[in-house]
């Protein structure tokens, strides 16, 4: 088995409910990703996607379990894990350059101004905002704001990029160009990325692995869909690829029907060895994660011990 760069191990997140009982958003959730992979999470609203991402970012703590990144359990937030927020979260009293420079000075505290500025400028150019450095966020369009958010996240050269529906508030055209840019940057830099989306096509275009989550409360990671499309896929002719519809239908089917019924119908689901699916092969191949196939048929045994 390849080394897992990100390994989410048996995490649970509970909130105190209104009637004194606890509500469990999810529990015993396992998820892993390799270095340089692009993972997308898809699931219905309220199933806990943001919660997973916030835990991965260190902004939220799991009630149980641990997250291991690059061989170390994470402890709070880190400059290694950059977050691109859905609402862009730019500081409105700073200019574009100021926002990116704030991140740069946070990472390299003893850099002088000129160096910080030059470094920030590189990333502003990278996202195509050359010429708008001295504008304030209120003077930018939604797409431009999100670009600044991307530049800010990239400028600290993180090991992982975490994105919570980064493009959901944008129009289709802007979304398309930003998807292209994110994909180009991630491929060029070998960035590991974890993204939440509601857009199936976005997931198909960007992701190497698509994580399907069932509806909450008590959401589970139902299956991992491996993207069978070639690495050099283009956004424009995505839908012409012979495997595209098989893949798309599989995901949409899940969202429309299986996400609701999954926990009731699949009784032998092993959260530790989530089935990996590769749609579009001669027939649907459902295979347990290599090396764990025996355990997979014994769900009772596969329950991991939880550490807190």
């Amino acid at each position: 088995m390849t080394d897992k760069f990100i390994s989410i191990e048996a995490i649970a997140r509970r909130y105190p409910g209104a009637d004194g009982k606890e509500t469990t958003v999810f529990e015993n959730l396992w998820l892993s990703m390799n270095r340089g992979e692009f993972g997308c999470v898809i699931g219905h609203s309220g199933c806990g996607k943001t919660t997973v991402l916030n835990i991965l970012a260190g902004l939220d703590q799991p009630s149980e379990g641990a997250v291991i990144v690059d061989g170390q359990a994470i402890e709070g937030t880190s400059l290694d894990r950059a977050v691109i927020f859905q609402s862009h979260a730019l500081l409105p009293w700073r200019t574009v350059l100021g926002n990116v420079a704030y991140a740069v000075t946070s990472k390299w505290r003893n850099w002088d101004r000129a160096k910080v500025k030059a470094h920030a400028q590189t990333f502003i150019d990278l996202v195509g905002l050359t010429g708008s450095e001295h504008k304030r966020p209120s003077e930018l369009s939604g797409g431009m704001k999100q670009r600044v958010g991307i530049a800010r996240a990239l400028s600290i050269t993180p090991k992982i990029m975490l994105m919570d529906e980064p493009f959901s508030a944008l129009d289709a055209l802007t979304r398309g160009t930003l998807q292209d840019e994110v994909r180009r940057i991630c491929l060029e830099t070998g960035q590991t990325a974890f993204m939440i989306t509601h857009d199936v096509d976005e997931a198909i275009y960007l992701a190497d692995k698509i994580f399907l989550m069932t509806n909450g409360p008590g959401a589970v990671l139902a299956e991992i869909v491996e993207n069978p499309l070639p690495k050099d896929r283009g956004r424009i002719d995505l839908h012409r690829h012979p495997l595209y519809y098989a893949l798309r239908n599989h995901i949409v089917d899940f969202l429309v029907s299986r996400s609701k019924t999954f926990t009731a119908t699949v009784t032998d689901h092993d959260p530790r060895n989530v089935p990996i699916v590769r749609p579009g092969k001669p027939e649907l191949v459902v295979a347990a994660e290599a090396g764990n196939s025996i355990q997979a048929s014994w769900p009772g045994l596969a329950r991991p011990s939880t550490s807190s």
């Binding site: 902004l59 400059l79 977050v83 979260a89 409105p92 209120s138």
Partner: protein, 279 residues
């Protein structure tokens, strides 16, 4: 007929002011000699009675007196006869000092309350009880403990301007958008740097609004406080002129209090605009 709104508003203002002056003038003008009065009584009552002149000075009297004051605002002829400029200067200095002390106390404390739910909850009962106390109610206690009337007035200004600033700072700090805090957290920005680079700029408009309310209250209170402690200041001037039965001077003082109050407010309004950011 396409004058700007501003121009038309100015015209209406001037017309209203002229009408006000006119009515004032008509209402206070003399009504001619009054008959049926013993000469002794007439002598006693002066012009008020003999020429039917109102006790209220008219706009022309006030204007003439005002011009006199403006010609030499800083004369000093002993404790009971100082120029208007000197009296206003004393008041502004007291307000400035008390207000400055309040800023020093309220803003750091407000930060603490806004950032720490524990401190917020712990201090809440004290603030709730202390806030509604009229600042003048502190005066006897201040005079007794401080034993200096001028410092007591400064203390009263301090105590009345501290609350709006404290509450607004605490509220502004607590209400900083979660996502901005999260940005700082993901960038591993330390607490002190976060307070200065994220929380302070984000809360600044709210803090400045509190400071603006405070300066207004401080200027309201200084007049009353100086009437109580006496000696110097525009409040004392008003009281002193009332005792001299110089209504003209009282009216001029009232006008000055209004103008200085407006200027103080405008200064704070300008600062507020400077730190306000568009979203």
């Amino acid at each position: 007929m396409n004058f700007s709104l501003r121009f038309r508003a100015a015209v209406v203002s001037i017309v209203l002011f002229a009408a006000f002056l006119g009515i004032w003038h008509l209402a206070t003008r003399g009504t001619g000699a009054v008959a049926n009065m013993t000469p002794e009584y007439a002598k006693l009552m002066g012009l008020t009675a003999t020429a039917g002149k109102s006790a209220m000075p008219g706009p022309l009297d006030v204007g003439a007196k005002l011009w006199e004051h403006l010609k030499q605002p800083f004369y000093d002829n002993g404790p009971n006869d100082k120029g208007l400029g000197i009296q206003l200067g004393y008041s502004i200095a007291r307000v400035g000092l008390g207000y400055f002390l309040a800023v020093i106390v309220a803003i750091p404390l407000g930060f603490l309350i806004g950032m720490s739910p524990l401190i917020s909850k712990a201090l809440d009962p004290f603030i709730q009880v202390l806030k509604p106390i009229s600042p003048l109610a502190w005066m006897p206690l201040a005079l007794y403990t401080i034993k200096d009337s001028s410092i007591s007035a400064i203390f009263v200004i301090f105590i009345c301007s501290v609350w709006p600033m404290l509450l607004n700072t605490a509220f502004g700090v607590a209400a900083v958008r979660k996502e901005w805090i999260n940005v700082a957290r993901t960038l591993e920005v330390g607490t002190i740097r976060r307070a200065f680079t994220v929380i302070l700029p984000a809360a600044a408009p709210t803090i400045l609004t509190g400071m603006r309310i405070s300066i207004g209250i401080a200027w309201l209170v200084i007049v009353a406080a100086e009437m109580l402690v006496g000696g110097t200041g525009i409040g004392y001037f008003v009281w002193n002129e009332w005792n001299n039965l110089s209504i003209t001077n009282v009216i001029i003082a009232i006008l000055m209090i209004g103008i200085v109050g407006m200027l103080l407010d405008q200064i704070l309004a300008r600062f507020t605009r400077m730190v306000t950011f568009p979203e």
